[in-house]
Amino acid sequence: MSMQPVKFYQTGTFTVGNRLLAPEDRSVQSNMERTNSLNSGHRACQGCGEALGARYAIDAAMKATNRQLIAANATGCLEVFSTPYPESSWQIPWIHSLFGNTAAVATGIAAAIKVKKGKGQGGQHGDIRVVAQGGDGGTTDIGFGCLSGMFERNDDVLYICYDNEAYMNTGVQRSSATPPAARTATTMPVGEHPGNNFGQGKFVPAIAMAHGIPYVATATVADLRDLEHKVTKAMSFRGARYLHILVPCPLGWGTASHDTIRMARLAKETGLFPVFEAEYGEVVSSLPIRHRLPVEEYLRPQKRFAHLFGKTPAVATIARIQSMADKNIRKYGLRFTGGA
């Protein structure tokens, strides 16, 4: 049995909340006072990236708001696995309305809070804040109109998209966040151009930035400290904020349950998923790639890309994906230049 070498960049990823460290160095999840907003016992799949991302994001938001938080949730995996009637994993006031209206529901909550506050009926422990959350389908596709409206009005809402790159709840169908060449139930690996088409899809963080809203950031479940930091920072702004978190889905991606965090890390380290922050439409920081890897390293373990690595590897397709990663690295300044 060969030993897996410990890679440099694995340190400091805080995947278990650094619970072996001193209390002040721990992340929210290893803090004894954590809120467990999304409590254990829910029905997510093993290795669910979305459950992990939501747990960290909402706990961080709870901490940042002194537990004065209301969440609106789109239809989707997160909603289904967290609230099968009559059980609920949510320890916070939480509402699910529809698939495509979460941003607007959150706007309504924020408006009501504002009026109540004006009447002296606000939170007992500081301002009540609102988080809206949904998957990539509920965000980039069906909920996009409401999302853009909420951005444009600069409503005081943090919208979190948990992006697993397809409609996993309905059985892995393509969304506008599905990457090129990926196999889904509606982009099967057959024909001349197997998998999802190139030249389609949208990167909503960039569209969010185009609205000029105060804060836009991306994150992955591979770096939960970074994720918490971004949620906390988002809560320090007023107005519309957007956080786009890459959350690998073992079922939809065809990866092992124990590889969720590794896949998220590879997405970032190959440059395929740029991790950055933007304020008022301009990129202000990005998480550099410490140990750059070719996209093949990311694609190969995923069954949704298995057709690229058959008897005749799809060299040209892989090269196309590599060029997308290279472009991200240039565009978002992801090349590690040394220093801290």
């Binding site: 009501a112 939170g123 409401c146 853009s148």
Partner: protein, 614 residues
């Protein structure tokens, strides 16, 4: 009943509609009842526009366009050769034309040959407007001319209004003719300008906006769709000016978002209001069902309008009736007063039962009609409507999950409870009407109401503003000895089966006149009525009328009801359907595969629509 009817012709941008409104306000200020409304359209600047004004000494119920005017005001003489402006003008009626030519020069010599000279008047209104206010706005000078010719109004009645709404402020317009004896009886107010303070002559939409504001809403979502726009515009202005405090006014990007924002704010404990119509209601349909499923007491005005295709902005009941099973209560207003009052009742009803309410008012016919309303005081509304105390609320100090998934094990029960709440509403709605009367002194609301139904052999069933025209027709038929009565349905959901049965069971025949169509079957309302009459033997007729704003006239109703009385009516009748046009299209489709788009074919067959009055 003495009634004086004025029809104003002009072009978009000439203040035609404003002129009719000002005329109605002037009549109101002198103590009369008045009704002003435009020939509802999507007219752009320069297109032919018609507006109407009725003036009477008693309440005006009639809602048909002015077919036989006592007076014509023509703001643009170029229309004389494009539109049949003189259609239906009563012999010897008043004719005012904005022109510096004579009637003969305008080619009207033949028309006015035997006309009383004092009923004819020309005013160089455009020039007067240009001279005194720098804009070619003929409406106010013409009204001045009308006041002088008719002798009915004193000029200052307009001056206040005109400085607000139009640049004209010139008394020069009084010059055309000497004042003449009034055409109507003396003012009703005991002293000039001493009318009861809460009475006002205003547009239906503005009346509703004011009423909603009096209900102290906390969140209002607005998305523009005709004909509800004036309502949210009115409220938006009140929020902006600070007149309506502690209220968030949100301009959303779609009706779907409007209802979704409403869901969020209502679930957070805020009293929430929005308004929509037609396509907008359909666009928000998913959220409409969601709001009632979640049990959120949102109040929404539906300014009833047809659903396309073909796109049509005019009134019928297709929109709210398409949502009849969405779980919202639906209350239909007959007049603007009732629309105003029903909104106040709706908030109380919705919040008591934790169920949303639609207040349905006929688009344009009510929303854009100026008529007299009795506006409640804030103290009255506060006495009637307590602050909103939610049954469920998103509150960090007591977290709950709202909107969880429910499987087969409990879904039936949840749905039954929604039904049970509406059954409770059947009891609460009449009680609320009584409580409302105790505070406001008016009979408004309730489940149903009957009119001259004692001993009626023929009963007419309808909803909304058409009831006024029906009642006027029924009065005339009663005068002629016909035993005919009316059942008006205010609460469409919940549907008061028992009340309907009681009201109709002794009749020989029932005519359900509805502004909706169940394509492939017939009536929607009539299906509900038939269910109420289950087991009772009587003649039942369904009449589909007024679709897409087709005028429902007293003349047509007379013929219809007479035919029904002889039991010669078809079980399903389309009132005033143009069979020639229909048959022509059917023939076209028989003879030719590529027969083309239906709507466009019909319009081509009918010719220029703008030349028609109604």
């Amino acid at each position: 009943m003495a009634m004086f009817e004025v029809r104003i012709h002009g072009r978009g941008g000439q203040g035609v509609v404003t002129a009719a409104e000002m005329l109605s306000i002037a009549a109101f200020e002198e103590g009369r009842h008045a009704q002003a409304f435009p020939s509802f359209g999507s007219e752009r600047t320069g297109a032919p526009v018609v507006a109407f004004c009725r003036i009477a000494d008693a309440e005006i119920r009639l809602r048909e366009p002015v077919m036989q005017p006592d007076a014509l005001i023509i703001q643009d003489p170029t229309l004389l050769h494009q539109v049949d402006v003189f259609a239906g003008l009563k012999p010897g009626g008043y004719i005012l034309i904005n022109t510096n030519k004579s009637f003969t020069e305008l080619g009207l010599g033949e028309l006015i040959k035997d006309w009383p000279a004092e009923r004819l008047c020309t005013v160089s209104a455009t020039e007067l407007g240009q001279k005194h206010v720098g804009r070619p706005m003929p409406n106010v000078p013409l009204l001045g001319g009308f006041a002088a010719v008719s002798g009915s109004f004193s000029w200052p009645r307009w001056s206040k209004r005109s400085t607000q709404n139009s640049p004209a402020r010139s008394p020069a317009a009084t010059s055309p003719a000497r004042p003449r004896p009034s055409i109507l009886s003396v003012p009703k107010w005991p002293q000039p300008n001493r009318r009861p303070p809460m009475l006002k002559q205003t547009e239906g939409s503005h009346a509703v906006a004011e009423a909603v504001a009096l209900c102290r809403p906390e969140v209002i979502c607005a998305y523009p769709i005709s004909p509800q726009t004036h309502i949210v515009e009115g409220i938006g202005e009140m929020v902006k000016s600070g007149e309506l405090k502690d209220c968030e006014f949100i301009n959303v990007e779609s009706e779907f978002a409007a209802m979704s924002v409403a869901i969020g704010s209502s679930a957070t404990g805020a009293r929430t209001y929005t308004a929509t119509a037609s396509q907008g209601l359909l666009f928000m349909a998913e959220a409409v069902f969601n709001a009632s499923g979640l049990g959120l007491p949102i109040v929404m005005t539906v300014a009833n309008r047809a659903i396309g295709s073909p796109i049509n902005i005019w009134n019928d009941h297709s929109d709210s009736l398409s949502q009849r099973d969405c779980g919202w209560m639906q209350l239909f207003a007959e007049t603007n007063q009732e629309a105003l009052d029903l909104h106040i009742q709706a908030f109380k009803l919705a919040e008591e039962l934790s169920l949303p309410v639609m207040v349905c008012m006929d688009g344009f016919i009510l929303t854009h009609a100026y008529e007299r309303v009795d506006m409640p005081t804030q103290a009255q509304v506060d006495a009637f409507l307590p602050p909103y105390v939610p049954r469920q609320v998103l509150d960090p100090s007591d977290p709950v999950s709202i909107g969880a998934m429910v499987g087969p094990e409990a879904f039936m029960e949840v749905r039954y409870l929604a039904h049970a709440k509406q059954m409770q509403a059947l009891e609460r709605i009449p009680e609320l009407a009584a409580e409302f009367k105790a505070v406001f002194g008016r009979e408004t609301g309730g489940l149903t109401h009957t009119y001259r139904s004692d001993d009626a052999e023929t009963m007419i069933v309808a909803m909304g503003s058409v009831l006024g025209t029906i009642k006027d027709t029924v009065d005339e038929m009663r005068d002629a000895g016909v035993k005919i009565g009316v059942l008006g349905i205010t609460s469409y959901r919940p549907f008061p089966l028992q009340n309907v049965r009681e009201a109709l069971k002794n009749a020989k025949r029932v005519v359900v006149l509805e502004k909706s169509l169940a394509v492939g079957k017939g009536g929607i309302l009539s299906s509900d009525v038939r269910m109420a009459l289950s087991g009772i033997q009587l003649h039942g007729y369904t009449v589909i009328a007024g679709l897409g704003g087709r005028a429902i006239t007293k003349k047509s109703l007379h013929a219809l009801f007479a035919k029904a009385g002889r039991d010669e009516l078809e079980p399903l009748t389309f009132l005033d359907l143009d069979w020639t046009a229909v048959n022509k299209q059917l023939e076209r489709e028989r003879s030719k595969r590529r027969s083309g788009p239906i709507a466009e074919n019909m319009l081509r067959d009918l010719g220029t629509v703008a030349s028609r009055i109604a």
